[in-house]
């Protein structure tokens, strides 16, 4: 095909004769060129996203340990999820984490953005400092967490000891571990919501607030009735974004507690990772992954529809 195309247009070397070239051949050549450009990217996307996704779906209908022969089991993996107590516990942990993390990161982001959205000395330094933890990898954050919150030798308990408060188990106490993980991921992730809110705040014309102030609104009223409604689309966006990243929590758990103590911090993604790579139940783990995918998709669709109907316009 390429040879035919090439011989059909001896035009390139003689630009003056362009007009005589048949339009169909030109269109076909343009098409091919276009495909040539997108082919590498398409191959990457198909190879690294679509192909694994399809394969994972096929796996989810099989019983396979990664080595022996895979046995087709139909929807058995999916029905096993219904009665899997450990999975249900992992779902609960994930929901608890999401409920703690999402509102906190949105509020904290908003607060920090408002504080940083002013002209004061060294503002650039403050903004950089707030953003810095976001750049640190979750692995580094995790290792830092284990040092800070070690019950026997950690800094936090040392501080408590100095001020005379009782020692805490932190990451080794099943009741506190999830809270500590939430705190540490807030430390890293609040920067993200801050940056988004900061950008949104700077898009709001100053005249609006000024007008409200002239009309007699106090600062809080001006913020709550004028500025905040303008931030609604951004709020919807960061809430969805943070929810999706919260239900996919894995790295911080992996580097701190490995799902412990007593599986109190085992999230859905950690559970499916351990099902796949520790228990070698690749089929079941794929089914859990598809379950998680369905939930994420539903949340996104629901919120998108809602925001379209109410004209918040986040998407």
């Amino acid at each position: 095909m390429s040879a035919a195309t090439a011989t059909a247009d001896p035009v390139e070397a003689h630009p003056g004769r362009t007009a005589r070239r048949p339009a169909r051949a030109r269109a076909r050549r343009a098409n091919l060129t276009g495909w040539g450009f997108v082919a590498p990217a398409t191959a990457v996307v198909l190879g690294l996203s679509a192909f694994p996704a399809v394969w994972a779906f096929i796996l989810s209908l099989q019983d396979w340990n990664g080595f022996g022969t895979a046995e087709p089991v139909g929807l058995e993996n999916y029905s096993a999820m219904v009665s899997d107590a450990e999975l249900h516990a992992a779902v609960t942990h994930t929901v608890v984490y999401t409920a703690l993390f999402v509102p906190a990161s949105v509020l904290l982001g908003l607060l920090l953005a408002v504080l940083l959205n002013r002209r004061i000395v060294l503002i650039g330094v403050y903004r950089t400092l707030i953003f810095l933890p976001f750049v640190a990898s979750a692995a580094a954050t995790g290792i830092l967490t284990t040092y800070l919150f070690n019950p026997q030798f950690g800094l936090v308990n040392n501080v408590l000891r100095v001020v005379g408060l009782p020692q805490q188990g932190w990451l080794e106490d099943p009741a506190q571990a999830m809270v500590v993980i939430t705190l540490m991921s807030l430390w890293g992730q609040a920067a993200f919501t801050t940056v988004i809110y900061l950008a949104a705040l700077q898009d709001i014309p100053a005249e609006l607030t000024e007008a409200a102030r002239i009309d007699g609104a106090n600062r809080w009223q001006a913020f709550w009735h004028v500025t905040f409604p303008q931030l609604a689309p951004v709020t919807v966006f960061v809430a969805i974004w943070q929810t999706i990243s919260a239900i996919q929590l894995f790295d911080l758990v992996y580097t701190t507690t490995r799902g412990g103590p007593l599986k109190a911090t085992e999230t859905i993604v950690y559970y499916l990772w351990s099902a796949a790579f520790k228990d070698l139940e690749l089929g079941y783990a794929s089914a859990v992954a598809y379950g998680l995918f369905a939930v994420t998709l539903l949340i996104t669709i629901a919120v998108t529809l809602y925001s379209r109907r109410t004209k918040v316009g986040a998407f």
Partner: protein, 438 residues
């Protein structure tokens, strides 16, 4: 420089073609040799699962083998960022058809690998008296023959658990050092005396991560009391017997009542704390001695405490697994390479040189081993402790799930949640169900 249009079109088509060929190449595999020709050129891929100094030693040996046999090229690499990741890597390489000729493998993977149908069977070759197969420890041989019918490789590294004590902590508390004749009651008493909450010092440390680290530390307690992990036919979990309950009760009493045990959630922290004189005793293997040497900790090594004079320990033999590429030349040279490597003459320059235990008992008398003991005191005690590794860990498929069920039960009980009998019964029921699933 802009590319002329015509060439661009051709370039685009070429890219598509290239992408298609690459995809096609993933599924095709070349036909292997069917008649043995030991002079033919072969290239072997060898995943060592090692890093740093260990990898350097093996690379040197591979080079030596290549020099001796010029028609053999060895493509040697770690295979994965950590030994644990090799399992994932092997699974992926089977799917892609690009698996190695030889790979390091943890003993606990043996059944799964044998199950893959991609391993060579060396049973006939290792029957040759020249190989000296009987010189490997029983546990190591059994792991290389996970199903009993096929031999999937050679023992690569052997180890066992011994009692390592920190002399600085013992001296500070004025407690006598452990001896060979210690019972677990002596052990418990010493741990209690070493523990000092005001300085955050603990007598003993136990992993409660719920992994195999948690589980295998428990097996000596079970075996010494006469218990068994599984029934003889390997279908029923029997670790919840009276012996198991007694063993777990003993550990629970130390952790919960005496509070003399540092409960480690991570598997790694207790070695560091031991090295910095915060923990008096750990039960661990040769790899710990290396870390202690680096940290400059003063320590001693003795066999595990016992029950009625029985000091059974647990051993975790790892393997060199050989894979089948339906090519007799590659199979021949893979076997020759690993047989050569695990020979006493080479093993003193690899395992002994690196600080692992010798694979074969005969190496204990070599000057190389004596030099290593000089550098890592206690290594000789650990090597001698090999005779106490009489019980193999189960090699049935599904051991990983048995291990997980037990690990969870132990972690719960040591952290004060649940009773030994109840927790072990639950774990046994779960393990039996998992075994039936296989």
């Amino acid at each position: 420089m802009p590319i002329p249009h015509r060439r661009r079109a051709a370039f685009g088509t070429l890219t598509l073609l290239a992408a298609a060929t690459t995809l096609a190449a993933c599924t095709s595999s070349p036909q292997g040799a069917t008649t043995l020709d030991t002079e033919a050129d072969v290239t072997l891929t060898w995943w060592t699962g090692q890093a740093d100094a260990a990898q350097t030693i093996l690379e040197g040996l591979a080079q030596e083998f290549e020099d001796e046999h010029p028609n053999v090229t060895i493509d040697i690499s770690s295979g994965a960022p950590s030994t644990e990741d090799l399992l994932q890597k092997l699974s992926a390489s089977f799917a892609g058809g690009t698996y190695p000729d030889v790979s390091y493998a943890f003993g606990s993977w043996a059944s799964e690998l044998a199950d893959s149908g991609r391993t060579l069977d060396l049973t006939e070759q290792v029957a040759d008296p020249e190989v000296g197969w009987e010189e490997f420890s029983g546990a190591a041989r059994q792991t290389a023959q996970p199903t009993g019918d096929v031999t999937i490789g050679f023992p690569a590294v052997v180890d066992n658990l011994s009692l390592i004590y920190n002399t600085t902590v013992f001296d500070a508390a004025g407690v006598d050092y452990p001896t060979e004749d210690w019972t677990w009651e002596d052990f418990r008493e010493a741990a209690k005396q070493l523990t000092d909450p005001s300085t955050n010092t603990y007598g003993y440390a136990y992993s409660v991560s719920g992994t195999e680290e948690t589980t295998w530390q428990f097996w000596p307690h079970l075996w010494q009391r006469g218990g068994e992990i599984l029934s003889d036919d390997g279908t029923t979990a029997t670790f919840n017997s009276e012996a198991g309950v007694e063993a777990l009760t003993f550990l629970r009493d130390m952790a919960v009542e005496d509070k003399s045990v540092y409960l480690d959630q991570t598997d790694t922290k207790f070695t560091q704390l031991f090295a910095s004189d915060r923990i008096g005793m750990v039960t661990s293997g040769p790899w710990t001695l290396y870390d202690l040497g680096v940290a400059g900790t003063s320590y001693g090594v003795v066999q595990l405490p016992g029950v009625d004079g029985v000091h059974t320990t647990v051993s975790g033999p790892d393997l060199w697994v050989l894979f089948d590429h339906e090519d007799v030349n590659r199979a021949y040279w893979s076997y020759e390479l690993i047989r050569w490597l695990t020979d006493a003459e080479q093993d003193v320059r690899w395992n002994v040189e690196y600080g692992n235990l010798p694979l074969r008992a005969a190496e204990i008398d070599t000057p190389e081993f004596a030099a290593q003991v000089e550098a890592m005191p206690g290594l000789d005690v650990m090597a001698a402790n090999g005779v106490n590794a009489t019980e193999p860990r189960p090699t049935v498929a599904g051991y990983v799930k048995v291990s997980e069920a037990v690990g969870t039960a132990i972690s719960q009980v040591l952290q004060g949640q649940g009773e030994p009998q109840e927790a072990l019964d639950t774990a046994a029921a779960q393990a039996t169900a998992e075994l039936a699933d296989q």
